[in-house]
């Protein structure tokens, strides 16, 4: 069973050093456990500051300097946190790839697209430059970019956001990794372009049966493209389970509230807003991270942090998960 | 503005605290140096000329028998007064130009940018020499010249900050609210660029100290018998050959110390402003 797993994150806990000397270190990820099987797409959904990006950074070990990580990250059975410098480079170059939210900031503006695409595989010795460029061209055509040769000689600023995000996707796929981490790959894009880029990404991942860790704040989007879904709040995964289930039949009050505050495209309804604002892990009290905003919170919720419990194939971090199962509103399928 | 500085110091940055207090001490010396000096700075004693350090004269005497330590302490006043005036004048002028230019934008802004470019192209030392020729060598010539020379440096930095502010929606909100351009410029733009101006001015003070000393050294600025560090370096130059280095070297080190302190404080303040966003 474990051998089948591509990525296992177990009780990940990340602390960043204090901003100022003498300050408290800041917890940004409190307790995250996740796993991705080969060919599986896992979505992570949460509002800003919940620690989604930190989770992906922890996987590729790109956390800010001074970050303290505990817990385990197992990739194909070996610990990522224990990799030596050379192994880490190999791991990053061949095993995983990351697609970021803002392609413009994540591509060196002074180098051509061709350089950008080929660089990784050439440096890791996987291909010669010519071969890499050829492979890139082929991939570009696969993701629906006409005129691939010309694109390779262009600079990032000459491309639109949507096109640039496709370049990112090509970059990520070129070394044939096992796992793709996509951190809000479409947030900066228009809906039409988002649909397009998502389609490309989903199709490529499926064709190659790669693992995908898909980060977004859009529950509907995540539900549409992933197999299983984790809902994150303040550094904690509050609910995890099959995408369809989680997005239609939430078992955690936060998931439910999130769904209820989404305006609907088809009808005018009074939205149920969640009072207060989203918090980061280090702002949370000793109890349930969502307690302060939760309509169902009890004293216990405020005092004691709930451990994830398995309910109907889902992992839910809520003391009242059982009893609330029937209370929480369900979402009808359109 | 001092309050801003204090608040920044309190936020705990040891470098800033150390060098900030050093700057404070130097400024106090500049103000009260006369009272600390064991001798009158221009009291000559030909019989005790060019002496090395001794109990009476801790740093020795210069070629006219004046006490070097006293001149160093008293010299802080002119050495600081000039740069202070330069920095204040150029900051006020530079900030005014920057705000005006950033507010109007368009061709006004382009014109201002061109004029500043021309000012960059005229070397400061040329302006200083010209000023010395026009106003006569002395305290004011370099003050006037360097005030003009520093304007583009201040204006450029402040302008880009002001332009950034100018395009923030809050400024447009103020405009929509019917507030006058003057009100917006002074109450919002100026207030927001003020910390930057302070930081820039502190940095500029270090540079001005060096440049002001250089004009005195060249004989275009403060003139002997006035005690001033640049003058002292120049005065002591002929003694270097006979091994009596204390005048030039002590004045040189005083300048270096002052410039280091103000530069570090200025850089730290700028960095903090950058961090504050």
């Amino acid at each position: 069973m474990t051998d089948e797993r591509l990525l296992d994150i177990e009780h990940l806990h990340v602390e960043l050093p204090a901003r100022r000397r003498g300050g408290e270190p800041r917890v940004v990820i409190h307790d995250v456990s996740l796993s991705v099987a080969p060919g599986e797409s896992v979505g992570v959904v949460g509002e800003s500051g919940s620690g989604k990006s930190m989770t992906t950074k922890a996987v590729s070990r790109l956390l800010p300097r001074g970050a303290a990580t505990t817990g385990e990250i197992i990739f194909r059975g070996s610990s990522v946190l224990g990799l030596s410098g050379r192994e880490l480079a190999q791991f990053r170059a061949r095993r995983i790839s990351t697609i970021y939210q803002d392609p413009r900031a994540h591509i060196n503006p002074l180098r051509t697209i061709g350089d950008f695409l080929a660089e990784g595989v050439v440096a890791s010795g996987a291909m010669t430059r010519t071969a890499a460029l050829e492979a890139a061209c082929a991939l570009l055509r696969d993701v629906g970019v006409p005129d691939a040769e010309r694109r390779l000689t262009q600079y990032p600023h000459q491309l639109s956001g949507g096109l640039l995000q496709r370049m990112m996707i090509v970059m990520a796929l070129l070394p044939s990794p096992d796992l793709v981490l996509a951190d809000e790959p479409t947030t900066a894009l228009d809906v039409t372009v988002q649909s397009d880029v998502m389609a490309v990404l989903a199709e490529q991942i499926r064709d190659r049966s790669l693992g995908l860790l898909f980060i977004t704040h859009d529950l509907d989007l995540a539900a549409a493209v992933t197999d299983s879904l984790a809902v994150m709040y303040a550094g904690v995964i509050v609910e995890r389970g099959p995408s369809r289930e989680v997005s239609t039949n939430p078992r955690h009050p936060y998931t439910a509230a999130l769904l209820a505050s989404r305006p609907s495209l088809s009808s005018v309804t009074r939205l149920t807003a969640i009072p207060g604002r989203p918090i980061s892990a280090f702002e949370a009290g000793p109890g349930c991270v969502f307690a302060a905003r939760c309509a169902y919170a009890t004293d216990r919720c405020r005092a004691e942090r709930p451990a994830p419990q398995l309910i109907e194939g889902r992992s839910v971090a809520c003391h009242r998960a059982e009893e609330l199962g029937s209370v929480l509103p369900k979402v009808a399928m359109a | 503005m001092a309050v801003v500085q204090l608040r920044l110091v309190r936020r705990g940055d040891p470098m800033l605290a150390i060098f900030g207090s050093l700057c404070g001490i130097l400024v106090l010396v500049a103000i009260f140096g006369g009272a600390l000096a064991p001798y009158a700075p221009d009291q000559t004693d030909i019989l005790a000329a060019s002496q090395g350090p001794s109990a009476q004269h801790l740093l020795g005497t210069d070629s006219l028998g004046r006490d070097i330590l006293s001149r160093l302490l008293v010299g802080a006043r002119l050495s600081f007064a000039g740069p202070a005036l330069i920095v204040v004048a150029s900051s006020v002028l530079g900030t005014a130009i920057a705000l005006f230019s950033a507010w109007h934008g368009g061709w006004v802004d382009r014109l201002v940018a061109r004029v500043l470019n021309v000012m960059f192209a005229v070397p400061g030392i040329l302006v200083a020499v010209l000023a010395a020729a026009i106003f006569g060598a002395g305290f004011w010539a370099p003050v006037i010249a360097l005030s003009v020379v520093y304007v583009p440096y201040i204006a450029r930095v402040v302008r880009s900050a002001a332009v950034r502010q100018r395009h923030l929606p809050y400024v447009e909100a103020c405009q929509l609210a019917g507030l006058s351009a003057w009100h917006i410029c002074t109450w919002h733009l100026l207030r927001n660029v003020a910390p930057l101006v302070v930081a820039q001015a502190t940095l500029g003070f270090g540079w001005a100290l060096a440049d002001f000393g250089a004009t005195s050294f060249l004989g275009l600025g403060v003139q002997p018998p006035q005690a001033e560090w640049g003058v002292m370096i120049s005065d002591g130059r002929s003694d270097l050959l006979t091994g009596a280095v204390q005048q030039s070297v002590s004045a040189g080190l005083a300048i270096v110390l002052a410039v280091v302190s103000f530069n570090i404080v200025g850089a730290r303040l700028s960095a903090r402003i950058g961090a504050d966003g």
Partner: protein
């Protein structure tokens, strides 16, 4: 229907080279009416000219052509401040729309100073803040200490201080987290119901538009491609582009679709 509060006729905006005329046409022949107390949304993809239209109406940008009528009377086309005409605006970026070095209470009272005495002002500030769900404590805070949603409330309160008749909201909720966005949307809906202000609501989020507007305008490449009652447009889109837009919105059961070909950029 009685006379519209605000009418925009054949608005046109060209950016860039005015002499040679080869500038970028950001807004092209846009016309619409906004009735008293109504809410009109402008939707469209990025760069379609939504913001530009809104800014021209607010008087922050000068139109190249066309005219804007308030109560049937044209208002000066140039940079004259429309605030006095009862048009106010709330901006997208909650971080940039408040002076970082001004306490939020002062930001509001500064505007009231034009029309109110000092004594009236304080009470008025509190009233406005409570209107948007904030209280006295918030008045003494700097924007940096407020959350995005709170800032956006302050921005709304500030706009309300001018007793506007038209409130332009340019992506006013786009930068907010979903849970907070819902709060602000509710607030906006309530305010309109209570104060009878008209909204010109700019957004790219069709679901949001559905909640707050009566009518909507779909823009593409600076032109209006579809115009009608919001429900009608969203439920029965006529234009190909509107349909494309609608199809792209993720919702339960949705799958992303690849466009036949990517237009070369």
């Amino acid at each position: 229907m009685n006379e519209p509060l605000l009418s925009v006729r054949s608005l046109r905006k060209v950016f860039g080279s005015r002499r040679s005329g080869d500038g970028l046409v950001a807004v092209d022949d846009v016309s619409f009416d906004l009735p008293q107390g109504g809410s009109l949304a402008i939707v469209g993809e990025s760069g379609s000219g939504k913001t530009t239209t809104a800014r021209i109406v607010a008087g922050l940008e000068t139109a190249t052509g066309g005219e804007i009528l308030l109560d049937g009377r044209p208002i000066a086309g140039s940079r004259s401040r429309r605030g006095g005409h009862g048009i106010q605006m709330v901006f997208q970026d909650p971080f940039g729309s408040l002076d970082p070095r001004q306490k939020v209470g002062n930001a509001i009272s500064e505007i009231l100073a034009v029309r109110h005495t000092r004594a009236e002002r304080r009470a008025q500030v509190l009233k406005l803040l409570s209107e948007v769900g904030l209280d006295e404590r918030h008045a003494g805070e700097y924007p940096a200490n407020l959350s995005g949603g709170q800032r956006q409330r302050v921005a709304i309160a500030r706009a309300l201080a001018q007793q506007p008749r038209v409130l332009i909201l340019d992506e006013a909720v786009s930068a907010l987290d979903v849970s907070v966005q819902a709060q602000v949307l509710n607030l906006l809906i309530d305010l309109r119901a209570r104060l009878g202000i008209s909204y010109l609501f700019v957004s790219h989020d069709l679901a949001v538009v559905r909640q707050v507007s009566d009518h909507c305008l779909v823009m593409q490449h600076g032109r209006v491609v579809e115009h009608g009652a919001t429900g009608e447009v969203l439920d029965h889109p006529q234009d190909r582009y509107t349909r494309l837009l609608l199809d792209a919105v993720p919702r339960p059961g949705w799958t992303p679709r690849r466009r036949p070909s990517v237009s070369a950029v």
